[in-house]
């Protein structure tokens, strides 16, 4: 028997919400970063779901792209965080507010 599509979508939406709350509330830049990855993966899950549901491979192809870009982005993002840490000796994003006036 097949698992209905709603299950996948609800799981995906839950993961996305967890990601959002993580991004908005956590103080540690690394955790914020992980939350962003969570959101990305929830989007991937949605893509795969619809791909298999519609019998179209395009969605799965996109997921590969997303994973590749996400890997690259993770590398750059982590490098930035390390650079900030070396400068400010913290990764607490409350204290990294140099965008201010």
């Amino acid at each position: 028997m097949q698992i209905p599509i709603e299950y996948y979508l609800i799981l995906s939406a839950f993961m996305f919400s967890v990601g959002i709350v993580g991004v908005l509330t956590r103080r540690n830049a690394i955790v914020v970063f992980m939350s962003v990855e969570l959101m990305l993966n929830s989007a991937n899950l949605t893509l795969i779901t619809f791909s298999s549901y519609l019998g179209d491979a395009t969605g799965q192809l996109f997921v590969f792209f997303v994973m590749a870009v996400a890997a690259a982005e993770a590398a750059v993002g982590l490098a930035i965080i390390i650079a900030i840490f070396r400068n400010k000796l913290t990764v607490n994003i409350d204290e990294i507010n140099i965008l201010k006036w």
Binding site: V23, L24, I93, N97, L99, K100, W101
Partner: protein, 648 residues
């Protein structure tokens, strides 16, 4: 036909101007610059002479040629050409300007020898002749105005030629500025007159305007307005009351400049312009009266100031103003050709007086105070002889040129205006003879008042004395072309007959053929000769025989003497009534209130307002990335909500 090449008299000076202006600083050779500078004027003079003889060969009613160069302005009915009008009047003026101009150019080669800006001097002089020829030969008011402004510019440049020298209380540059600004006031009047001519007659071309002035039904008050406006322009250029204050200060320039521009040519432009517009003036009797009154009063007042001045050039400057007043008196009396005749003879003897003064100043090492001269006769025989000729000519002693022209003016002022004008004219003639011979006796006769150990007066070089001799001959015999008709018979006055066609229309309109007997004319002539001789002998008595008389008279009439010495406080009056209010008003109102408070204040306060508002708004930017993300997500949520709601 050389007449059709008349534009060359304009182009040659232009060439000289460009050549000396562009190459002069590199050549640095005074000979080359001087030859180009005066040679171009000499060629222009020859062309003008040939054109004169060609015109003489033409029948009297065909002596007007218009030479068109190219179209200048063509817009909405206003059609102006660069066109030159060759007729009797413009030929006389061209000959005076190029002829006297050439002589003065040659003289300048000697006078300006060794000056660090020798080339600049000749550049300006050539530009001046170029502008002056445009003024004289123009066939329309606009081209005349172009020349009018051009000579004003050159006058400014040349007055301030020695811009690093002191002049009286300020600098020569500010004297030039004064001349320029006072002239600008007159030019404003000239412009208004030109606008009014265009709106009344629909053209600016002389021949059109003057024929329409006869045929169009234009009310007299319009003519009066036009004539008065144009005359305001003339008072500026020709230094008449009330705009005469600039000419004495113009003496800050080099002496050849004073001779050429501020005595012989440019200042007579006003006389020329009024004579050119004779028909307009003849149609406006009120304006004619204004011209005559201003002229006679200027002649008288300037002569009284000339009595007490001690600077040799200042005396000559006031004498120039006074003689210009005579010319305007002639124009106001309707004796246009007499006015132009005096322009010509005055150009001869006044240029000679200035050049003679220049020669004296040259040899006395820039001392200009006549009280420090004396006895120069034996050191400078040529200067002395020619100066005496010029002084006698200007005093109106027959048979020198000044007698004929001045006497013609005096006669017409009696015949056409009345005995009062004649009387003031004769008194002025007496004053003229007196101050001119005061100048002569103090300079050339009597005891030497300079320190003969320090100063060694010497005759000037040939380059300067030959021009003096040429002008001396002209001053002596120049009057014979205008012998009064009572002596020479009908049409015996060559000058008058020559110019008659130009002024015919105006003279018919004026109908000034008074019935005066020959006895009267000869009587009045005799009186004016007696006045001239009397002035000379009184000057001789006061300044040669009894030098104490002068000081005694001065101290007895101290008040009057001071008023004259200070030129009726005219400069001070203008300073208090016009200059100071403008300067103070500009400083206290325009600068400190209008500019600093209103204009700057508005801008600064606007900037402050923006600064304040943005200072408050900027607090929104916390710099915490998470709060930006929160706002973004809220936005996305609202958008989603809106989509969902709008679907159902």
């Amino acid at each position: 036909m050389m007449i059709n090449l008349i534009y060359l008299t304009v182009l040659f000076p232009l060439f000289g101007f460009l050549f000396n202006g562009i190459l002069g600083p590199k050549i640095k050779n005074e000979k080359v610059i001087g030859i180009i500078g005066s040679g171009t004027i000499g060629i222009a003079f020859i062309i003008a002479v040939v054109a004169l003889f060609e015109t003489l060969a033409l029948p009297v009613d065909q002596r007007l040629t218009i030479v068109t160069l190219f179209q200048w302005i063509d817009v909405a009915g206003l059609n102006i050409h660069f066109a030159y009008q060759v007729d009797q009047l413009s030929l006389v003026m061209s000959l005076v300007v190029t002829g006297v101009g050439f002589i003065i150019h040659v003289y300048s080669i000697g006078y300006m020898h060794g000056d660090k800006s020798f080339w600049r001097f000749f550049t300006y002089l050539n530009l001046f002749i170029f502008a002056m020829m445009n003024l004289i030969l123009a066939d329309n008011f606009l081209l005349l105005f172009l020349g009018w402004e051009g000579v004003g510019l050159c006058s400014y440049l040349l007055i301030g030629f020695w811009y690093d020298r002191k002049f009286e209380k300020s600098t020569t540059a500010s004297a030039g500025l004064k001349a320029f600004i006072v002239n600008r006031i007159g030019d404003f009047g000239f412009l208004l007159g030109m606008f009014l001519i265009y709106s009344s007659f629909g053209s600016l071309i002389f021949t059109d305007v003057f024929s329409r002035a006869l045929s169009f039904n234009v009310p007299e008050h319009i003519f009066t307005l036009i004539a008065i406006f144009l005359f305001i322009g003339a008072t500026g250029k020709s230094a008449q009351i009330p705009l005469l204050v600039w000419l004495p200060d113009a003496m800050a320039g080099p002496t050849p400049v004073s001779a050429l521009i501020h005595a012989a040519t440019m200042v007579t432009a006003g006389v020329y312009m009024v004579a050119r517009c004779s028909i307009i003036y003849a149609s406006a009797p009120t304006a004619m009266m204004v011209v005559a009154v201003i002229g006679v009063f200027t002649a008288f007042f300037a002569a009284t100031i000339g009595l007490v001045q001690n600077d040799i050039k200042k005396v000559l400057a006031y004498s120039t103003i006074s003689q210009l007043g005579y010319m305007f008196l002639a124009l106001g009396a309707g004796a246009f050709s007499a006015g132009i005749f005096h322009v010509m003879t005055h150009a001869f003897f006044k240029a000679l007086l200035f050049l003679g003064a220049g020669s004296v100043i040259h040899s006395m090492h820039d001392v200009q105070d006549i009280r420090q001269y004396g006895g120069l006769k034996k050191y400078m025989p040529v200067t002395y002889g020619t100066f005496l000729v010029a002084a006698t000519a200007i005093s109106g002693i027959p048979p020198l040129s000044g007698f004929f022209s001045k006497d013609e003016i005096l006669w017409y002022s009696y015949a056409n205006l009345g005995i009062v004008f004649w009387l003031i004219g004769v008194i002025t003639a007496l004053l003229t003879a007196f101050y001119m011979f005061r100048l002569y006796f103090l300079t050339f006769e009597g005891k030497e008042k300079f320190d003969s150990h320090k100063t060694h007066p010497h005759e000037s070089p040939k380059l300067m004395t030959v021009p003096l001799i040429v002008l001396g001959v002209l001053s002596a015999i120049g009057g014979f072309i205008g012998i009064p008709e009572i002596f020479s018979g009908e049409h015996g006055n060559l000058f008058h007959t020559w110019l008659a066609p130009v002024f015919k229309a105006a003279e018919i309109k004026l109908m000034n053929i008074g019935s005066h007997s020959h006895f009267e004319e000869i009587l009045f002539m005799a009186i004016s000769i007696v006045a001239g001789v009397g002035g000379i002998f009184y000057a001789r008595y006061v300044y040669l025989k009894k030098p104490a008389v002068a000081d005694k008279t001065a101290s007895r009439f101290k008040g009057a003497y001071n008023i004259l010495l200070n030129k009726y406080f005219l400069d001070e009056a203008y300073e208090a009534s016009v200059v100071n209010p403008i300067v103070k008003g500009s400083e206290n109102i325009l600068w400190k209130i209008a500019d600093n408070r209103i204009i700057d204040g508005t801008i600064n306060n606007l900037a402050k307002l923006v600064d304040n508002i943005s200072g408050k708004i900027k607090k929104i930017q916390t710099g915490v990335a998470q709060s930006y993300a929160l706002v973004m997500i809220l936005g996305v949520l609202i958008a989603l909500l809106w989509l969902i709601i709008s679907y159902s």
